[in-house]
Amino acid sequence: MVNLLWLGMILSGVITAAFTGRIDQVSQAIFEGTTTSVQIIISLIGPMALWMGLMNIASESGLIERLGRLIQPMIRFIFPDIPKDHPAAASIMMNLTANLLGLGNSATPLGIKAMQDLHDLNKDSERATYPMCTLLALNTSSLTLVPATIISLRVASGSGSPSLILLSTLFATSFSTLTALICDRTFRLFSQE
């Protein structure tokens, strides 16, 4: 599906450009895309290394295992396929906590760490497993208590009350996360592992 989606976006773009006369912009946009992705990766290396280092201490000290045992009963409902005593439980919890607190810089590295832990349980290494899809659903639906980025943009734009949106955001994000979990469960029923 992703192959078709990728081709579709590029093909429809180039065809449209032929009609709109924007082929120059498209040509430029292709290389801008490469630059942007490298910039994103560079800004990811630092936080990534930091959390990989900290998680290594947490793992060698047994903290991950302890945290995992503590948290496993709570997330078992959402992630039934994660075995007891597996480090994925702890890294998933840390990823979700970072999301809740609006710590974007930490949420991504911790989410990647959680994916790597889930990947240890993966037999077919190029195909997403159920728990991977669930973790992705939770992250794409963005469960957050502190929408930090948009609040700072509101402050910068001279808003009289930047935090006015807290309640409505909490409502919308809870609803989207709930939808993500329900859809994830439903799709799971109709797909084979």
């Binding site: 590029i10 924007r22 990811l44 990989m52 201490i57 793992s59 659903a137 963005s142 006015l164 409505s168």
Partner: protein, 178 residues
């Protein structure tokens, strides 16, 4: 309320960093060695993501720069209107899953035009705060572990985004209109 949350948010990282290192030290882990050992993987992991992210970014950029996205927005505008999504917001809901910086700059434009505390400004803020850049998350999270078959992950992400938009319109109309 926000002040308290922001306090918790800013304290959480330093407290977590200290706790992890202190716990490790007390358990007899050579914390500095262990940290640097783990941190080495940061670079590799980030580099592993690059091809996936680049593929996604190039496609998204072509789609946007060519005007194909504007065309899609125009085509679907009657439909989004029927769902109660205001016209000024329609571009945002298509930008949001594709580009985080793109949707933020569109919101800046909305703020300039209507003001951050107008109904449109608040609705745009709510949408931005309650949803995520789905395509970016998929590329980064699955790219890091080399997953190529995404199965239903993108569909679920986009359905969740749609649910978020509708919930945002619903709650903002109740709280902020009139």
């Amino acid at each position: 309320m926000l002040a308290l949350l922001q306090q918790i948010s800013s304290w959480s990282i330093p407290v977590l960093v200290v706790s992890i290192i202190l716990y490790g030290y007390l358990k007899g882990v050579k914390v500095y060695d262990s940290f640097t050992d783990g941190a080495k993987n940061g670079l590799n992991t980030a580099l592993k993501i690059l091809p996936y992210l680049l593929a996604m970014m190039v496609a998204i950029n072509v789609f946007r720069a060519s005007g194909a996205m504007d065309l899609l927005i125009k085509l679907l505008n009657p439909l989004t209107g029927r769902l109660g999504i205001p016209d000024q917001i329609t571009p945002l809901i298509f930008l949001r899953p594709l580009s985080g910086s793109g949707s933020l700059s569109y919101i800046s434009h909305i703020f300039q035009e209507y003001g951050p505390d107008s109904f449109i400004g608040i609705l745009a803020s709510t949408i931005q705060g309650s949803t995520e850049t789905t395509f970016y998350i998929v590329a980064v999270y699955f790219g890091a572990i080399g997953i190529k078959k995404y199965r239903y992950a993108i569909t679920v992400g986009l359905l969740a985004d749609l649910a978020g938009y509708l919930a945002a319109v619903f709650i903002c109309k109740i709280l902020f209109l009139n």
